[in-house]
């Protein structure tokens, strides 16, 4: 790319544009501090593009799974419910998370369960476990997790979907720094989240005015979050996974 050209945005990747070409923002008002439910299609971006005019070339991009997040204030805290389903592999992860009502929606305690089914519906693997952060110590099934440092500012990957909707970060302000408990199990340290400012993103009904936030950190490929003017996270893209909002309930 010539030096005098602006760096393209990641949503200009044509597979993302194809998905966004059918995205229409919800018409209703949205209150990120209230009770809400968001359902996202998860697209696992392909290694190689289909070329030419053969089968699959330029075809519609099909989702590989669903992520449903429900958030609601509860006794001064936030309760976050998670359901993640893969379409082809038959696995389902469910979590109920008590979060602090703070900027990062830091998880306080949780229950998580996993089920996998064969194509015929037979359960192959199923189990549940619990976790918590107590005095900065990550606990798993009631025991301190091995070899982990005390946590101060921290969140989990699912909480971040909630947190970015209420951020007041400006492009000029210092990034947030925190650790992230991925899948409520794997500690990813040295995370940062910064604002990249406003950007118009072309979607089905015209441009969506979005605030862009960008996450870097250990074991995390640059991850972009896009929040519309109503305060809803409508797209996230990092590594090979693309999340696009498909349903909203208040």
């Amino acid at each position: 790319m010539p030096d005098d050209q602006k760096t393209p945005a990641i949503w200009q990747y044509k597979v993302v544009q194809r998905v966004l070409s059918s995205y229409t923002p919800p018409a209703a008002q949205f209150d990120p501090a209230g009770a809400w439910e968001h359902t996202y299609n998860i697209y696992f971006l392909n290694i190689r593009a289909k070329k030419g005019k053969g089968k699959g070339a330029g075809a519609e991009v099909n989702p590989n799974g669903i992520l449903k997040l429900s958030s609601a204030p509860k006794g001064g805290e936030i309760e976050l419910l998670v359901e993640s389903t893969a379409f082809m592999t038959g696995d389902q992860t469910s979590a109920r998370i008590r979060c602090k009502n703070d900027a990062l929606r830091s998880p306080l305690s949780w229950e998580i369960s996993f089920t996998n089914q064969s194509p015929t519906g037979k359960e192959l693997v199923t189990f549940s476990k619990t976790g918590a952060v107590e005095n900065g110590v990550l606990m798993k099934d009631g025991k301190p997790a091995k070899g982990m440092k005390p946590l101060s500012a921290y969140t989990c990957d699912w909480s971040l979907f909630d947190a970015v909707q209420r951020l007041t970060l400006q492009k000029s302000t210092a990034p947030l720094t925190f650790d992230m408990i991925e899948y409520l199990d794997v500690l990813r340290e040295n995370q940062t989240l910064r604002s990249r400012g406003a950007t118009p993103i072309p979607c089905a009904g015209g441009n969506v005015d979005a605030q862009e936030y960008l996450q870097f950190g250990d074991a995390v490929l640059p991850t972009h979050y896009y929040v519309d003017a109503g305060g809803r996270l409508f797209m996230a893209l990092g590594s090979r996974r693309l999340f696009v909002l498909v349903d909203e309930k208040a």
Binding site: M1, D3, T7, P8, I10, Q12, Y13, I42, F44, L45, N46, I47, R48, A49, N64, G65, S84, A86, F87, M88, T89, G90, D91, T93, F114, N116, P119, L124, V125, T126, F127, K140, A145, K146, G147, E182, Y183, D185, V186, L187, R188, R194, L214, F216, D218, A219, V220, L221, P222, S239, R240, R241
Partner: protein, 476 residues
């Protein structure tokens, strides 16, 4: 190479030799851990096996192996508990072929899986089938990727369909391992193969970042990018397939090419991304390790960790795999068994191959191997009491490329290509000086070529399907 070194008196045509280097090898493989006491391989003491196989992990790209730019605390933890063979080569550095060699103990001209998509020959026993006959329960989860062999006919498949594990990432595979280790209650010993996909996701980099046209898109990251490798720019003769591959990728043909546009920072960003994918899968490895430690099987499970192939990540200005430079062909091979194997041993000397997995597992399981195994059990060398070991290892790529690695040299040749490559691996581990045309080394080239020819002449070569893949190696 003195071909008389081959101990032809030894059965199985095994090319082992009483190695003068063996004592030296031990000297470079310090035994830092506990004393070794072995359980007999009888029915009552058969160990379980956990085979953690990662996809596209170069041997060098682990902190424990000296890579400062990557964070791999859990792979390091396994390394500290293991004997780690750093001169371990993929039998054919691309997914399907390498996996066919793991699970049959045969090199890819014999498995028939010379390229991705080519079928495994019928009737060749695989490790799952063989262990089941020997009284083991064989389980599989994660990526399989061996064409024409239905994994569920050889293993009990846990969790997701191995054809579809790419859909939501390695956590799905890891969760199935957690579920298994929490719930397994049978008396039979088990073999569990866990195919984790990453850092293979680096394969999406070209396409997903194509619009950046080789310019670093994240100025915030420049300070933390790893340096270019010492062999990033090296002027040497390369085989035609490598030259053509570089022409293909360096040309500006659209989405999947344009590497000729890549600025130095962008090459460094590619390596940075690769290392992050490694750290990503390292976390999954840690979760599996924690679960194993808390399970009833912690003390009686042999843990083996390897990768099907490596990744170019800028070495020789190459990316991906399907070539025979060390970054693609050399992979980790760690083996641990608490209380039974030495710990924290890095063996930088012994030449190891993916075909060694099958006989190694059989040895610890107390099961005879099928006939015509090409690999050898690593048990004697892992336990520190081997007096002999092989003096060369080979690898293939596509239908045309092959490699022989001896203690000092590595020869790479391609069919009908006059350009060969000879590297002195002792003096030039980054493979920067092609010595194949050095007059003084002509005999070394010929001896290596003859040894490779003679060895391959013993193969039961699998017939290729009429519609075999292209002659060039594919790289997905």
């Amino acid at each position: 190479m003195n071909t008389n070194d081959r101990p032809t008196a030894i059965s199985r045509r095994d090319f082992l030799k009483t190695s003068a280097g063996a004592a030296g090898a031990l000297a470079t493989a310090p035994l830092l851990g506990k004393s070794v006491s072995l359980l007999p391989s009888d029915k009552n003491h058969k160990p379980n096996f956990l085979f953690l196989n990662l996809d596209q992990l170069s041997c060098e790209a682990i902190h424990h192996h000296g890579c400062a730019a990557v964070k791999t605390p859990n792979l390091d933890c396994i390394g500290q508990r293991s004997v780690s063979f750093t001169q371990s080569y993929s039998a054919n550095p691309v997914c399907c072929p390498a996996r066919s060699a793991w699970f049959t103990g045969r090199y890819t001209p014999e498995t028939g899986v010379m390229n991705n998509g080519l079928p495994l020959v019928k009737g060749m026993p695989d490790l799952g089938q063989w262990l089941r006959r020997g009284g083991y329960q064989a389980f599989y989860t994660g990526k399989w990727h061996i064409p024409a062999r239905q994994v569920s006919n050889s293993f009990t498949v846990l969790g997701p369909d191995p054809r579809n594990t790419a859909s939501l990432g390695d956590i799905v595979t890891t969760r199935s391992v957690e579920g298994f280790l929490r719930n397994y209650r049978q008396n039979d010993p088990f073999f569990l193969s866990v195919g984790l996909l990453n850092p293979h996701d680096i394969c999406s980099f070209l396409l997903q970042n194509s619009m950046y046209r080789g310019a670093m898109p994240y100025p915030e990251l420049v300070e933390e990018l790893p340096p270019l490798p010492p062999n990033f720019r090296c002027d040497m003769k390369e085989p035609r397939e490598i030259v053509q591959r570089k022409e293909k990728y360096f040309g500006d043909h659209g989405d999947e090419s344009g590497m000729g546009l890549w600025k130095d920072d962008y090459w460094r960003y590619y390596a940075w991304a690769y290392y992050h994918y490694i750290t990503m899968v390292d976390g999954q490895v840690g979760l599996i390790l924690d679960t194993l430690e808390q399970s009833p099987f912690a003390e009686n499970t042999v843990l083996i960790l390897s990768a099907d192939h490596g990744e170019g990540h800028g070495r020789h200005q190459m990316i991906l795999k399907s070539f025979l430079y060390d970054e693609a062909a050399r992979v980790p091979f760690m083996i641990s068994w608490p209380g039974h194997l030495p710990e924290n041993v890095i063996d930088n000397t012994r030449l190891v191959s993916g075909v060694d997995l099958f006989p190694t597992v059989c040895d610890y399981a107390g099961i005879e191997t099928p006939p015509n195994m090409r690999g050898y059990s690593l048990r004697p060398v892992a336990e520190g009491n081997a007096s002999t070991w092989r003096d060369f290892v080979i690898s293939h790529t596509g239908l045309n490329g092959r490699m022989i690695r001896t203690n000092q040299y590595k020869l790479i040749t391609y069919k009908d290509d006059p350009v060969a490559q000879l590297f002195n691996m002792k003096n030039d581990p980054w493979e920067t000086k092609n010595l194949a045309e050095e007059t003084a080394l002509a005999s070394v080239v010929e001896e290596h070529r003859k040894t490779l020819d003679d060895y391959e002449a013993t193969f039961e070569v699998a017939p290729l399907p009429k519609k075999a893949a292209t002659s060039a190696a594919n790289d997905e």
